[in-house]
């Protein structure tokens, strides 16, 4: 029985973590949060008045930790009222995630309006539609992130047997997914999507920072288009990173060949394998792209 619940928990946790990663990256890109936000912030100063949703709850880790912890805390308290079977966990998680989404919307609206208000010198106008069009999209991704992380926390607590309580697990997952999301997915948004008029194949020089694309496929670009672009690659790689992390961590506990030390040995081997992958990738890119050339 314990083995089955571990197996089931590992599969479920990996799957939920993958989805959470995809949604988290899309959420931060729809709101242009985290590090690329500095570019959206810089744009009006060099004359690029934009129509991006400037959510600016900067520090993705604490922000995501808040959505996940709020959802998980409410769900945790509600399951005590509802009973405690799988169905009540699901319903409680949905209610909790909905509540944390309201908080996300409130913070998002407040920061967009405040940031634009502080842009008076650069003649940036507050367009209501550029706030209200991406907001439901952003909220939807935020809802899904919080829901996935809450369910992940429940499955890590009850199926995988982590001794931490559900809200604390959600807090840890929120911080971790924020750190992973801002360090993988955001590169695609910050260095490719915002700067599509610069050639593919180079980083963005510090001298041109702020010169972001303000026009899109048709008309002015808004933040609804962003997840459509970034989800095809950036979101998936973020999901891959978080999904692999949670999956491998749980998977390493399935074996018992060396007693309590098994999982440590398995993870150490995995760490070495990942290092080899990093090396191979570097060799491949150096061969494929070579030195920087002007063309």
């Amino acid at each position: 029985m314990a083995a089955i619940s571990l197996l089931l928990g590992t599969a479920l946790a990996g799957f939920l973590a993958f989805l959470a990663g995809v949604f988290e990256d899309s959420e931060s890109n729809a709101g242009s949060a985290s590090n690329p936000n500095s570019q959206v912030q810089l744009a009006p100063q060099i004359g690029n008045r934009h129509r991006y949703f400037n959510k600016a709850i900067s520090g993705e880790p604490p922000a995501n930790a808040l959505w996940a912890t709020t959802a998980a805390t409410i769900a945790y308290l509600l399951t005590a009222h509802f009973g405690g079977d799988a169905f009540s966990v699901l319903v409680a998680s949905i209610i909790g995630a909905a509540a944390s989404t309201l908080l996300l919307c409130a913070y998002g609206v407040l920061s967009h309006i405040s940031r634009i208000a502080s842009m008076k010198n650069f003649e940036q106008t507050l367009y209501w539609d550029s706030l209200l069009t991406p907001l439901p999209l952003d909220a939807a991704f935020g809802f899904l992130t919080a829901l996935m992380l809450t369910l992940l926390a429940f499955s890590a607590h009850s199926l995988l047997g982590n001794p931490f309580s559900v809200p604390l697990l959600a807090f840890f997952f929120g911080i971790t997914i924020g750190a992973i999301g801002s360090s993988t997915g955001d590169i695609y948004y910050g260095a490719e999507r915002l700067y599509q008029h610069y050639i593919f194949g180079s980083g963005i020089p510090i001298s041109v920072q702020g010169d972001i694309d303000v026009k899109g496929e048709y008309g002015y670009r808004n933040s609804v288009d962003t997840p459509y672009f970034t989800m095809r690659f950036g979101g998936l790689v973020t999901g891959l990173a978080f999904g692999i992390l949670i999956f491998l961590d749980a998977w390493s506990r399935l074996f018992t060949f060396a007693g309590v030390w098994t999982s440590v040995i398995v993870v150490s081997v995995l760490v070495l394998i990942i290092l080899i992958f990093i090396y191979l990738l570097e060799v491949y890119t150096r061969k494929r792209y070579g030195r920087y050339t002007e063309d």
Partner: protein, 245 residues
């Protein structure tokens, strides 16, 4: 379970490890525009992510003794950091189309001099896009990050285990592990931000000259975590002896 006095020393050691680990983890906020070498987020944020993963992994083996807790925390943290580096490099290679390159090494300003990767021997000069300070995480910074994460995870797990064994006699509910977890996370967050002052938001790990100002982090974290550890010790002793309750 360990003696409260030893646990106090463990909290101090854990706090210092957490502080020092941030110096080894390559991170830079402008990395998000592929404009600097390092993982694309603030150093303290990233170490918090890695360290808390370590505490999460360590919690599974809380009943199996100190050594296992520390090692689980360390490798859990390293796993998180290396997966992040791998996926960041995948993003850079296939999303941006540039090879990982160390900006400091390319300009000859790394700790060991020269313009080559210390471990792989790859030439760095000429690979960075002009106007940027490198991009991605070349192999030497990945290894440095791995070391940093090992330290950070071990430090977080040390604090976690120490707080757990100190609070267990005071409150004997099943949720004491949660309390230990949140206090360990708190100690981690306090110590991981101090080095960020030294690093000014950007580092390439142990191949960056900023590693030489590590003694400042060391002293600051030593003093801060000593105060925190003494407070935890005093409070737990009071709670155990039930002077006030």
């Amino acid at each position: 379970m360990v003696d409260p006095l030893i646990a106090t020393i463990m909290i101090i050691a854990g706090g210092v490890l957490v502080g020092v680990c941030v110096h080894f983890i390559p991170a830079s906020a402008t990395g998000a525009m592929a404009a600097a070498t390092g993982i694309a987020t603030g150093p303290s944020m990233l170490s918090a992510g890695a360290g808390l993963t370590g505490i999460y992994a360590a919690a599974y083996s809380i009943d199996s003794g100190l050594a296992l807790v520390i090692v689980s925390g360390a490798v859990g943290s390293a796993l998180m950091l290396l997966i992040t580096i791998l996926c960041g490099n995948i993003m850079l290679a296939f999303g941006i189309g540039a090879p990982p390159v160390s900006g400091q090494t390319a300009s000859g300003k790394s700790t060991f001099g020269g313009t080559k990767d210390i471990i792989t021997g790859f030439e760095q000069e000429g690979y960075a896009s002009p106007g940027t300070d490198g991009h991605g995480m070349p192999f030497q910074t990945a290894v440095s990050g791995g070391f940093g994460a090992l330290m950070g995870g071990a430090g977080g797990a040390l604090v976690f285990y120490a707080v757990y064994s100190m609070t267990l006699p005071a409150i004997s509910t099943e949720n004491v592990v949660t309390l230990a977890g949140i206090v360990a996370a708190g100690v981690f967050l306090i110590n991981s931000v101090l080095p960020a002052y030294v690093l000014v938001g950007k580092t390439e790990g142990m191949f960056d000259m900023k590693i030489r100002s590590m003694h400042r982090t060391f002293i600051s974290c030593l003093v801060t975590s000593s105060i925190v550890a003494c407070v935890i010790y005093a409070v737990c002793e009071l709670a155990v002896s039930e002077v006030i309750v």
